[in-house]
Subunit: 226 residues, 2 copies
């Protein structure tokens, strides 16, 4: 607009345009805990993959569009490439090694989110693979998965199910402990786990019946997610 024009502004704009620019991508490690498996990550096969071609599995990602927030680009890529919605991506770090993408100069802002496996519609082009037995992934995506796993596990050491991987509604302490054991890939003593988690939980007065043994009380988080 006219009244913004000034010698300072023009000098700065000319400088900015001189620089070559990289493509900026977002790639997201969507972590989950499927029935009967440990911590797993969502990988996709590009839609244009050709049988026998050089394509390998990779994390869902896309290029950042003009005026778009990184977190919005993540949501867009997950919706379009994997049909997953309702996430809240968290930024991990930028992967910038030269040559990390053989298509050209691409830096990738890696993201992390976790979601219940039921929210991920599996198709011919999507798979959930255990993080302890990753297949070969495109680019540096295996390194991104490693960074994401460390970050998610650090969260799960701090409090009860911070990513909301439990089903909606109240849950027993055993539900919570089993989930944490699967995310962290380590066992926790039941009594200590209960005592460390209880301050962050509130009772509901309801119980889960029908199983063997003494009915377990159902709890909710003191601080609800979202």
């Amino acid at each position: 607009v006219a009244d913004n024009a000034s010698p300072y502004r023009d000098a700065r704009r000319r400088t900015l345009d001189e620089y070559p620019r990289p493509s900026v991508a977002v790639d997201t490690a969507v972590l989950t805990v499927p029935e009967g498996a440990g911590l797993s990550v969502l990988v996709t096969l590009p839609k244009d993959a050709v049988r026998g071609g050089p394509h390998r599995w990779r994390l869902p990602g896309t290029f950042l569009h003009p005026g778009e927030l990184l977190s919005d680009a993540v949501l867009r890529s997950l919706r379009e490439k994997a049909g997953v919605t309702g996430l809240r991506p968290r930024q991990l770090r930028v992967f910038d090694a030269p040559g990390r993408d053989d298509r050209g100069w691409v830096v990738s802002v890696a993201h992390l989110d976790a979601v219940r496996a039921e929210s991920i519609p599996l198709t011919e082009h999507t798979r959930l693979v255990p993080v302890e037995a990753l297949p070969a992934l495109d680019f540096d995506h295996a390194e991104i998965v490693g960074t994401a796993v460390v970050a998610l596990r650090a969260d799960y050491r701090r409090g009860p199910d911070p990513a909301g991987l439990l089903p909606a509604g109240p849950f027993t302490v055993r539900d919570l402990r089993t989930l944490h054991e699967r995310v962290l890939d380590e066992m926790h003593p039941a009594d200590t786990f209960r005592r460390t988690m209880l301050p962050a939980l509130r009772t509901t007065g309801e119980f889960r019946r029908g199983a063997r043994g003494k009915p377990a009380e159902l709890y909710r988080r003191v601080i609800e997610l979202d």
Copy 2:
């Protein structure tokens, strides 16, 4: 090269070029603890600043060059804009708010490093300002400083002088405690501080003499920096 040509590769390269690209900048919060002041950050005035113009103080930064690592761009910007060398920048996160830079579409990868104040040559275009009394900074640089301060303080809660802000050579526990108190902006009881830090320190058998009171033993880190 010819033998890399394939239908897959060509299809992918064409796709990449379709995307508009943002400028990618790096901006670095260089933190230090000057004599007689608390935690401070290095800010610069652009070299082309005009007296009375719209320029304000900002963090040293630059645009990423083709083929360059982000950490190398950081080192380059610090060398050229502030004459500081020998740093090891750490990535914080990407700042990507639309409109954060009125020159155009610029995302910035914020970095952090800490260095002794003696390593920063102060000129007409550089200043050290306390982080608790920041002047108005350009762009979203005040937010970057806030993120950097939180990250550095988290490091200083974990172990003895992780950034190497003490002078080279051995140091007393009091030297170390005073530094931590200035970085964290909070007092620490001398006995508890000593007991928590000692496992990460090793004795030298030497003592600092000449001051009042009982001479203090000089220590080194168990794990040297670098």
